[in-house]
């Protein structure tokens, strides 16, 4: 019998481990019968770290040494997490370009190290339950996680002593948990609003195949945002009430945050709930409390704007899947935030049907991961996941445009090839800039990696041919290999994260990319035509200064008029007009080019300074 592969949902707020045994999935509880493990690690100098509920219990008394929501920092650089950094009580260290590190007590941890502590706890839990050693695991990630976030998750597994057999997407895992006993073809939407991330996936289920048609989401949207909104409300109301601001010391902030989370959760089941924060502040010997009743309607009007941000990704996923809401047979809810009645109403509005909530939204992802574990170990043989890559992959090309090589929602594994060459003589290295995102211009997308294809033997420009193969593997992780087509020499590149943009920017841009699709196209055409126009104008002016005497008045007048027209189009930044002006100008300068060719022939053997340049076009 093959070794067991456990399924782990490594969540922002909670983590869960499950395993399949004899056709049944068990969510594994700890000694205290707790099935969830809060994704919290408390580091106490000189002692073993605390994980889960024990760590959560010391959060208020020891906020600076208690690490939570670490998932938000996985695979990120310091400069990308400014917003998150404001809302945590522990410390982020490292320069803006460096990968995030956290300080807890005297030690410094990377996010994969913190995640590994959680994973090790879950591994121990599973080993105790199964009475055997566990080495292999499936770990889930948000579908919208990018390459470096996936890589960081895989690294965390390795640090915990686990072989990560697969990284699978959370919504896809949830669909597995729901869809196992289904035989008929159906289309399913998975709406996954967790603590920190939002995903929506559309799948087609057909005879054991779970075919993902489209996925969309936002890696910066979740229950944490709702808590934060409530915390801000408490701070605002406190100040209104007492005419001075409540302090933001970690102890106070953490108490407010926990109370906000409690009130939010209670309001999913109650019509109203009280904030109860005694002795929040003392001033001039006076004690200040915060007690206030909040109705569910109040909460909903506070957070409606946040929840509404889930709507567009759903519409885009439907659009990419070429389906209407009516064609979706079932909507599955995943993630603790989907317990909010407001979220359920929004889902119902978008998909026009009552969502299915029959599996516990906190456990459904781990259950799906355990099923995938059983698929890989061979215990289940009639199930197959066909997933997609969430974001388009491409490279920067001439003029700063992004050339897409693998489109979003392509089935994975996927591959694309591109042949690169040199631009100048004797060039020995070519820069390759790999991007992920949906916008037309490179600068608007996220940089996955930049590297140089080096060691090219010196040759004339355009002669070397280096074929670069981009492969997105079944885990959604990118691999790059280059081959010199002349020598057959092969080279592999590690795609290390190095991004120029903040995550906020990337998210905003992905959100806007559909609206901007047309602008982008315009901008790209503008960039290309502008460069061409400047080149042609310079060449024409130069040629005219030397050869205008050989053209007749009509020809000159026409060229002059077209130069003016081209310059106007340049000033007006209208590429359509520019294109048409350029075409006309090129046509009108044909006699000029002919004159120059004749002159060049006359001067054969002693080409003048104008010998090549303007005549080359």
């Amino acid at each position: 019998m093959a070794q067991k592969i456990i399924g782990i949902d490594l969540g922002t707020t909670n983590s869960v481990v499950a395993v399949m045994e004899g056709g049944q999935v068990t969510v594994i509880a700890d000694d205290d019968q707790q099935r969830l493990c809060p994704s919290i690690v408390a580091v106490n100098d000189g002692a073993a770290p605390l994980v889960g509920y024990p760590a959560r219990n010391q959060l208020v008394v020891n906020p600076r040494q208690t690490i939570y929501s670490i998932k938000r920092f996985m695979g990120r650089r310091h400069q990308e997490v400014a917003e998150e950094e404001k809302n945590i009580s522990y410390e982020i260290v490292g320069g803006p370009e460096e990968m995030v590190k956290v300080r807890a007590g005297r030690r410094i941890f990377t996010p994969p190290e913190v995640s590994a502590i959680i994973l090790r706890t879950l591994k121990d839990r599973a080993e105790k339950f199964l009475h055997s050693e566990i080495q292999k695991a499936i770990i889930t990630v948000p579908a919208y996680f990018n390459d470096s976030q996936r890589q960081a998750t895989k690294d965390a597994g390795g640090l915990a002593g686990l072989v990560v057999e697969r990284i699978i997407n959370e919504p896809t895992a949830a669909a597995l948990a729901y869809g196992l006993d289904r035989k008929q073809i159906s289309k399913v939407a998975v709406f996954d609003l967790g603590g920190g991330t939002f995903d929506v996936s559309i799948l087609e289920l057909s005879e054991g195949i779970f075919h993902v048609l489209a996925t969309n989401g936002n890696t910066h949207l979740g229950g944490d945002d709702i808590d934060r909104r409530l915390v801000e409300w408490v701070y605002t109301e406190f100040e209104k009430q007492n005419a001075f601001p409540l302090n933001r010391q970690p102890q106070v902030f953490e108490r407010v945050r926990q109370e906000a989370e409690r009130v939010k959760c209670a309001l999913s089941f109650e019509d109203s709930e009280s904030f109860d924060l005694p002795i929040l502040e003392t001033r001039d010997g006076k004690v200040f409390n915060f007690t206030r009743r909040l109705s569910r309607a109040d909460l909903e009007s506070l957070v409606r704007g946040i929840i509404d941000r889930t709507i567009n990704p759903c519409r885009r996923a439907l659009d990419d899947a070429a389906l209407t809401p009516e064609q979706i047979n079932e909507v599955i809810l995943v993630g603790g935030s989907t317990r909010m009645p407001l979220v359920r109403r929004v889902v119902q509005e978008v998909f026009r049907k009552e969502p299915n909530t029959s599996v516990n939204p906190d456990e459904v992802v781990a259950i799906g991961a355990a099923i995938q574990g059983a698929v890989l170990s061979g215990e289940i043989s009639d199930v197959l996941l066909l997933d997609v890559n969430p974001l388009s992959l491409g490279i920067e090309t001439y003029g700063g445009a992004m050339s897409k090589l693998i489109f979003r929602n392509s089935p994975i594994p996927a591959t694309a090839k591109e042949v690169f060459t040199t631009a100048v003589d004797h060039q020995t290295a070519i820069d390759v800039h790999i991007l992920q995102g949906e916008r037309e211009m490179a600068a608007d997308n996220r940089t996955l990696a930049r590297f140089a294809l080096s060691g090219i033997s010196p040759q004339p420009a355009g002669a070397p041919r280096i074929e670069v193969t981009f492969t997105i593997d079944v885990n959604g992780i990118l691999n790059v290999a280059a081959r010199d087509l002349a020598t057959g020499k092969e080279e592999h590149f590690e795609v290390k994260p190095s991004y120029g943009l903040t995550e906020e920017d990337v998210n905003r841009q992905v959100d806007e990319s559909i609206e901007h699709a047309f602008d982008d196209m315009d901008r790209r055409m503008w960039v290309e035509h502008k460069a061409e126009a400047e080149r042609v104008l310079a060449a024409t002016h130069k040629a005219l200064s030397q050869h205008s005497g050989k053209l007749d008045g009509g020809q000159l007048e026409k060229i002059d008029a077209l130069i003016t027209r081209t310059e106007k189009a340049l000033a007006a930044e209208d590429w359509h007009e520019l294109k048409s002006a350029l075409d006309a100008l090129n046509e009108a300068t044909i006699p000029l080019a002919e004159v120059m060719v004749t002159e060049a022939i006359k001067k054969e053997g002693a080409p003048g300074p104008s010998g090549h340049d303007p005549g080359s076009h």
Partner: protein, 236 residues
């Protein structure tokens, strides 16, 4: 395309070796239609396309091939699964499917985006002028105390809408011509025994259809972007 079985060295076609049952490698440049075992037609049965995609993945997807004992077979299967996915992803979309056929038959063409198709030359200039006129009229009507410009705006808009109707009509004509070219292509497929060994006449006919398809595709894509721009100008 024939390939050499890495296990028993016999020269074979398809996905499995008929001698030893090993997984056969797929050449990187294998035709997408052949990978999925489909005729090279534009009007594909999309249900069959999907069925092939599912069936082949049932055999070669990494989740399945991870159970193969021979590591060489696992590698071959993973590469094959990647090519199956690329093939499906290209062929499932009609536009991408046609563009793939054009690229296969005519080679990579220079990107022609933005170039005005000959069949639209007469209209484009007028439409561009009208758009500029309308924009200017709209700009100056924002200035206070110029009631005449309001009339100018509505006149230019009306004229532009007229051109829009004409463009839509032309698009329909292009579309219907495209469809008849597509049928010609598919007929040719039906009557061709072996696509790899075409007679000179068939080859010429084939290239001619692809040329026509390519022109129509460019026209339609140009007209679509022009229509979008007109609508933006009219309704902004």
């Amino acid at each position: 395309m024939r390939v050499v079985c890495v296990n028993c060295s016999s020269r074979e076609v398809g996905h499995w070796c008929s001698h030893c049952g090993a997984v056969l490698p797929t050449p990187d440049n294998e035709n997408y239609f052949s990978i999925l075992g489909l005729p090279q037609k534009i009007n594909l049965d999309e249900e069959i396309l999907k069925e092939r995609f599912f069936d082949l993945n049932r055999a070669f997807h990494p989740d399945r091939s991870s159970r193969m004992k021979d590591p060489r077979m696992r590698d071959i299967a993973t590469r094959k699964s990647t090519l199956i996915n690329n093939s499906f992803n290209t062929l499932r979309d009609r536009t991408r499917r046609i563009q793939y056929l054009i690229r296969q038959g005519l080679g990579d063409r220079e990107e022609k985006s933005g170039q005005i198709p000959l069949t639209l030359f007469d209209l484009v200039e007028r439409v561009n002028d009208l758009m500029v006129e309308l924009k200017e009229a709209k700009e100056s009507s924002k200035a206070p105390g110029s009631p005449t410009n309001g009339r100018k705006v509505s006149e230019a808009a009306k004229e532009l809408e007229g051109e829009l109707q004409e463009l839509v009509a032309r698009r329909e004509a292009f579309e219907s011509n495209l469809h008849s070219r597509e049928s010609e292509w598919d007929d040719l497929c039906d009557h061709t025994e072996n696509f790899e060994r075409l007679s000179a006449d068939d080859l010429a006919a084939r290239q001619q259809i692809l040329q026509a398809l390519s022109v129509r595709m460019d026209e339609i894509s140009y007209i679509d972007s022009l229509i979008r721009r007109i609508k933006d100008t009219l309704f902004e």
